[in-house]
């Protein structure tokens, strides 16, 4: 059976593009027992399922692997072997931006493929020539085959939040497969022969396998089973196959952010090209932020941040940003604009108004429901690299109930440690997360102390800023690629930095100390910013110039805070 995966793996970029992506729009059209792809986040794990893996049909061995039902009748006395497979409950990644969905929508229909990559040039003029409406994505005509795999797959369906615009594309040809939830299509993926450590909760994966649908399975319970009436009831009872498709997975592949991009302009980050994209992105952000250049720089660094490592409780590399100075009015202008911009730049974004009511009622942490034996997703169950905007301007005075207090604590933990506690009723389980947090608030947020606090000072009330598709695409690629660049500091510069840090500390005793944290977070942050700054230029090692830029940025920020 392992043989199946191998050829697929070897030539995945070529062969897999032909495999349709299972999503809500085509679920009706795809024939059961055909090969499909599914992209989603592992939301829950149901444990292992034991099945008759092999049985003897006469003198030949037959298998039930990759199927729900035996392909040949099994007689009761036959010799059998029991195998196991893992059940994963996968959902579309929470907070998918519309462009991710759209790109995958049209992707599967594209056929003419080659010739884009040759045409790519760093000049913006070149790019702008092809100013198709990016969001409708006709770009798929222009992507080189190597990147095709990346661009082709896209996500199976719309994210649950805020994407009504795209929904409704369900196929009119409703075949035998009935009433799937068209808005958000979860999928029960059955994994064979892969080590447990490979698939983790909240990871985003692409699964390639057989989509099965057996009408027999729909007639589910016969009720007489003591176990289902007792409490060993099957989780699957709540997930009938007509609601949740089954996928028997041959191969799976972890997806990083850039896998969601529709094509990438370049494979190697070439310095001047990167520099160009950076400039244009910075210009765009500046425009979005009403000509506030410092804020734009900070937002850029913030968008590039990512948890690289964990040392004790510290998540190295995170950079949460708190833009202060918003009022309710300005939030509706700049906040919205910023949100839209971020949504169009990053594949997974969420935003959440921080109100007393919201805090008191929302279920932020995922919670295990032992009645159904499912993990109920909370707002904070997010895939790695998700961007979360919290709008604190909506916060009024009010009383937090216990849920509210718990929720605030969760948010604070997420902010400080990048960890979310999952509620398993009898105990809490801490899960590491990697979420970029942006807080918009009037004054410095005391509830959610961010790493970087910057008073926002727009000078122009900006009219809506539009970006063309080409540049958007370049920026997406830029953000996705550069954030994962490796980073080093050579020993000489290390010395310089150390000296600078010491000097800064000698000068200002409050530096290196921080009211809420372990003493050196501020200095720590500088280093994070330095790393991000150099990454934003596509550099893998920190240069003195970038270090100076960070110091300059920090100086400007300080001035504002005063």
């Amino acid at each position: 059976m392992e043989g199946i995966g191998a050829p697929l793996m070897s030539s995945k970029s070529v062969s897999l593009i032909k495999v349709p992506i299972l999503d809500s729009s085509n679920i009706g059209r795809i024939q059961p027992n055909s090969l499909v792809r599914f992209r989603g986040m592992v939301q829950d794990m149901f444990g292992n399922e034991l099945y008759v893996g092999a049985f003897k049909d006469g003198s030949t061995w037959r298998t039930n692997k990759f199927t729900d039902v035996a392909s040949f009748p099994m007689s009761s006395s036959t010799e059998t072997r029991i195998w196991e497979r893992r059940l994963l409950y996968c959902v579309p990644v929470p907070g998918q931006s519309p462009w991710v969905v759209q790109s995958s929508d049209s992707a599967s229909s594209s056929e003419t493929v080659i010739n884009r990559c040759g045409n790519w040039t760093p000049q913006h003029g070149e790019k702008r020539r092809r100013e198709d409406d990016m969001s409708v994505d006709q770009m798929d005509l222009n992507v080189c085959p190597i990147l095709l795999f990346i661009r082709e797959d896209g996500l199976p369906c719309q994210a649950s939040q805020s994407q009504e615009s795209v929904i409704g594309g369900t196929s009119p040809i409703q075949s035998m497969v009935p009433d799937f939830d068209t808005k958000s299509l979860p999928c029960l993926v059955k994994i064979y022969d892969s080590p447990e450590s490979e698939l983790k909760l909240n990871d985003v994966f692409e699964f390639v396998g057989v989509f099965t649908f057996d009408p027999e399975l729909m007639v589910h319970e016969d009720g007489s089973d003591e176990f289902s009436s007792g409490l060993c009831e099957d989780t699957l009872v709540h997930l009938p196959p007509n609601k949740v498709p089954r996928l028997h997975c041959f191969i799976h592949r972890k997806l990083a952010v850039h896998d969601f991009l529709v094509g990438s302009p370049v494979n190697e980050p070439m310095p001047n090209l990167v520099r160009g994209i950076r400039e244009s992105l910075l210009r765009y952000l500046t425009a979005v932020l009403g000509n506030d250049g410092v804020a734009a720089q900070c937002v850029l660094l913030h968008l590039l941040s990512q948890v690289h490592a964990r040392v004790d409780a510290i998540a190295v590399g995170k950079l949460s940003l708190n833009l202060t100075g918003f009022s309710r009015e300005s939030v509706s202008v700049f906040g919205n604009q910023l949100n839209i911009a971020i949504q169009s730049l990053l594949p997974f974004t969420q935003s959440m108004p921080l109100t007393v009511e919201n805090l008191n009622t929302a279920s932020l942490a995922p919670k295990k429901d032992y009645q159904t034996n499912r993990l109920l997703a909370g707002t904070l169950q997010l895939a790695e690299g998700t961007h979360l905007t919290l709008d604190e301007t909506q916060l009024n005075a009010g009383i937090l109930n216990s849920t509210g207090i718990e929720n605030v604590r969760l948010l604070k933990n997420l902010m400080d440690l990048q960890k979310v506690e999952y509620d398993f009723e009898y105990y809490k389980l801490e899960m590491s997360s990697d979420v970029q947090l942006l807080i918009l608030s009037e004054g410095k947020s005391n509830i959610l102390p961010a790493d970087l606090v910057l008073p926002f000072q727009p000078s122009v009330v900006a009219s809506s800023v539009n970006a063309d598709g080409d540049s958007l695409q370049a920026w997406r690629w830029y953000l996705a690629t550069l954030r994962s660049l490796p980073h080093v500091i050579d020993t000489e510069l290390q010395k310089v930095i150390e000296d600078d840090l010491v000097a800064a500390r000698q000068e200002d005793r409050s530096l290196g100390s921080n009211d809420f944290s372990s003493g050196y977070l501020e200095l720590f942050r500088w280093l994070t910013m330095a790393r991000l700054m150099s990454a934003s230029f596509g550099e893998t090692s920190l240069s003195l110039e970038h270090w100076q830029m960070v110091k300059e940025l920090e100086r400007l920020r300080k001035e504002r805070v005063k």
Binding site: C232, Y370, R509, F524
Partner: protein, 832 residues
């Protein structure tokens, strides 16, 4: 006692009859007993011996409806095809009672029988079990075997089960152990037969079924590693019960009554999960068709319960969700555990087909798994910290101590650790490793965690063993971080913030129970952290009222309450770890500690160690800090921390030490203590100076004793050695040098702490007082015109060389006013 021979002269091979009474889920724990009992009754009526033991099947046989998988399935299928429904009333005689007498011979005569599909000889196993039960002795000196004694006991109390320690089996007969684990269904059945057989030999009237409950397997399987190869094997699984079903009555024997004539049928036993309703009345005279109806209250039911077991957090790998497994409990085991209990379960892992549709093929391709429970053990009790005062409130930190074996291993490991020469430093390093520097503070905290010995003299005097520590320091010196860390580490502890704590919130308060209307005492933070550590952040921001409550707690270690008719004294044997910001938010080195902290000296003196965490502008430290930060960012983070103990080990180490190590002072150490204390006090005498500075108070010597005890504990040593005492002195000095330095003279001055005023300061004040007095005597007339303060100040400044502040003058005048020497009116002074 019966002879050695196995009583298994069986006419039915083990492969023949499947238990006809098995339930659909396969566990019919009590059925064999019933069957045997009945059969035995029957046979004993015509034979004085005992009946043939039933074939080795009994409790765990699945029915045809839900065949167990794999090879076993087919094995069972075959077996059941040949099954003889032994106990159905009509066919009882098919199993002819064995001839009694001469068992020994028969054992030899009987042809060897094997468990189907294996080379396990039933006779061999039978004999092995018998040998084990008879001859296993815990100590060679025991006259009677452990299990023989147990069996006698069971017979006496009419018990139903015999707990068999698998370790004993292993020690006695490895082969038997292996067979038991690999073929539990068969071997346990034989086990039960042997047991019943023995019981009835000992007491012929004893006809209850005794069930062997195996526990304490040598290996325990992590829940997520249960896989198809474990099916039908005996496994041991640890976890936490999350749900229990209600008790399900499972029918064992049904009695029917004829609606026509009222005839009661013989009890009908469950046959492959079903009760066969008699088609016609059994009475010859009636024979009415379809007239039989079930009589519920004459049926026999057994309890059954389905329990869900979930992995405990410590078994869950990174990025996984907890696995769960179903347990099937029968009879006595029902309700043995409640949701939330941590248990270790020994049982047989089984799979059952899922009846998905009506179609044959779907039925066969999936399985549900469960564990047929044999034995359940609550692991909470055996945890290392069972009665430990320092019991961990966070269960996840002590996974390994749950099994006695692991427990022993763990202790050995800890002892090994304790032997390391650098254990003290190592522990210090492991404490809050992400907090930079502050080694001496960490050492103090370590001592606090380990604690000294509490002493209660026969006279009733009490000496606390808890060490109280106060951290005072500039903002951003990781005080709160340290506090949080200790809170996390401390076995029991409450973390409060001074600003948010009221006096009653800290101690105890009286409340009316809303339901009963009774007044009840609700414990506050200090009482709740009895035998733990109470961490109080923002100590300086606490209201005075709340702080004064601490006086009693910190020395007497009790909280006395007298309100609303409740007079009580509650134990609050807690160490207090407090941290405070200096009053001006930044430490002013020119002021004394007292002035900086703004805490009443009475309270302050109750802290054994007071650390000043000052953010000194020290380039060395800064550079190290900078290096550290840079390294965190750009080096492999793993390489940064060297040989520190992880949190679970640290907690285990701590718990063990607190529980089992009670160090005593050696003579040498006691001498050193005395010597050092005298030295400390003598230091107050300046050569050539008349002023006396008290450098140490009796409280300090108590502190010293506690500290040295804690230090000995850290080494797992029962004796406080001289070097412990020396280290304790060093710690105290380090702490005092920072906090009790008289900034005017630069010496240690405990007066600073006990009165808030240093000796030199006192002398200065006295000088000023007398100068003022003299001045007023000279310049002012009795009852004369009043003088302004400023004038006096000018005069004084002229006279003395030193700097005099208006405030000092005011203080001096206030003193004079209290003597009745002057009257102070706002800014004017009048002599009277």
């Amino acid at each position: 006692m019966a002879s050695d021979s196995s009583p298994s002269h069986r006419n039915e091979g083990p492969s023949s009859p499947t238990d006809p009474y098995s339930s659909p889920i396969g566990n019919t724990n009590s059925s064999p007993g019933d069957a045997h009992r009945r059969r035995r009754r029957r046979s004993s009526s015509n034979a004085s011996g005992f009946a043939t033991p039933p074939p080795p099947h009994s409790r765990f046989v699945a029915t045809d409806a839900t065949p167990t998988p794999s090879s076993i399935q087919s094995r069972r299928a075959r077996r059941s095809s040949r099954a003889t429904p032994v106990a159905t009333p009509t066919s009882t005689d098919e199993a002819p009672p064995s001839s009694e007498g001469g068992e020994a011979d028969e054992a030899d005569e009987a042809p060897p029988m094997f468990v189907w599909g294996t080379n396990i000889s039933v006779q061999d196993v039978n004999a092995a079990i018998l040998r084990f039960l008879r001859h296993f002795r815990e100590h060679p000196s025991d006259t009677e075997g452990k299990y023989m004694r147990a069996i006698h006991h069971i017979i006496e109390v009419e018990g139903e089960s015999l707990d068999v320690d698998a370790h004993d089996v292993f020690d006695y007969d490895i082969d038997l152990y292996t067979k038991m684990v690999r073929y539990p269904l068969e071997v346990l059945a034989i086990f039960d037969i042997v047991l019943m057989d023995m019981a009835s030999r000992i007491n012929e009237l004893f006809d209850k079924h005794i069930q062997a409950r195996i526990f304490n397997l040598r290996t325990s399987t992590p829940m997520r590693n249960l896989n198809p190869s474990d099916i039908e094997k005996m496994v041991s699984v640890k976890g936490m019960i999350i749900r229990c079903s209600s008790i399900i009555p499972e029918i064992r024997e049904a009695v029917f009554r004829c609606l026509v004539c009222g005839y009661f049928s013989d009890p009908v036993v469950v046959d492959r999960g079903r009760i066969n309703e008699p088609a016609r009345c059994g009475r010859q005279e009636c024979l009415a068709m379809n007239s039989m109806t079930l009589v519920h209250n004459r049926c026999r039911f057994a309890d059954k319960q389905i329990v869900r077991l979930q992995e405990t957090p410590d078994d869950i790998p990174d990025g996984g969700t907890p696995h769960t497994v179903s347990l099937l409990m029968h009879d006595k085991l029902v309700d043995a555990g409640k949701p939330g209990d941590r248990v270790e379960v020994t049982g047989i892992y089984r799979a059952m087909t899922v009846r998905v549709g009506s179609t044959q093929r779907t039925v066969k391709s999936l399985f549900k798994t469960y564990i047929d429970c044999l034995h359940i053990k609550k692991t909470d009790k055996s945890r290392m910290q069972a009665e430990d005062p320092m019991e961990l409130n966070n269960g996840s930190e002590n996974m390994n101590e749950e099994v006695p074996l692991d427990f022993q291993d763990k202790i050995e490991q800890l002892k090994e650790l304790a032997k390391l020469p650098d254990i003290y430093e190592r522990l210090t390093r492991s404490l809050a490793p992400n907090i930079w520097e502050l080694d001496d503070v960490k050492k103090g905290l370590l001592c606090q965690l380990f604690g000294g010995n509490a002493l209660r003299l026969p006279s009733g005097a009490n000496f606390r063993g808890d060490i109280n520590i106060l951290l005072v320091g500039d903002p951003g010196t990781s005080k709160s971080q340290l506090l949080q860390y200790i809170h996390k580490l401390a076995p029991r502890g409450i973390y409060t913030s001074g600003r948010g704590s009221s006096a009653v919130g800290l101690t105890a308060y009286v409340a009316k129970d809303p339901e009963t209307g009774e007044t009840v005492l609700e414990s506050g933070a200090l009482v709740l952290s009895d035998r733990g550590i109470c961490c109080i952040d923002e100590f300086d921001k606490m209201s005075d009222n709340a702080r004064s409550m601490l006086h009693e707690v910190m020395e007497q270690q009790t909280v006395s309450i007298a309100k609303a008719g409740i007079i009580a004294s509650l134990n609050a044997r807690t160490s207090v770890l407090a941290c405070a910001n200096p009053s001006g938010s930044r430490y002013n080195p020119r002021l004394s500690v007292i002035d900086n902290i703004h805490l009443p000296p009475t309270l302050l003196s109750r802290f054994d160690l007071i650390y000043l965490l000052l953010d000194k502008a020290d380039e060395q430290t800064d550079r190290r800090l900078a290096k550290h930060i840079v390294a965190l960012h750009f080096e492999n983070p793993e390489s940064i921390q060297q040989d520190v103990l992880d949190l679970p080990t640290l907690t285990a180490y701590l718990s063990y030490a607190r529980r089992y190590i009670h160090p005593k002072l050696t003579d040498e150490a006691a001498e050193e203590l005395t010597r050092g204390y005298v030295e400390l006090r003598r230091r107050g005498n300046f050569p050539g100076s008349s002023k006396k500075v008290i450098t140490a108070t009796p409280r300090q010597i108590e502190s010293l004793i506690r500290l040295s005890e804690a230090l000995a504990r850290i080494r797992f040593s029962e004796w406080v050695e001289k070097h412990d005492v020396l280290e304790a002195f060093r710690l105290l000095e380090v702490a005092m040098q920072q906090s009790a330095t008289d900034h005017a003279t630069g010496t240690i001055d405990m007066d600073l702490i006990t009165t808030g005023v240093s000796a030199s300061e006192r002398i200065r004040r006295e000088n000023l007082l007398s100068a003022t007095r003299n001045l007023i005597m000279e310049k002012m007339q009795l009852g004369g015109p009043s003088a302004r303060l400023m004038e006096l100040l000018e005069e004084l400044k002229k006279q003395s060389s030193g700097e005099i502040h208006l405030n000092d003058l005011r203080n001096a005048l206030a003193t004079l006013a209290s003597e009745g020497f002057v009257i102070l009116h706002g800014d004017t002074v009048k002599r009277i």
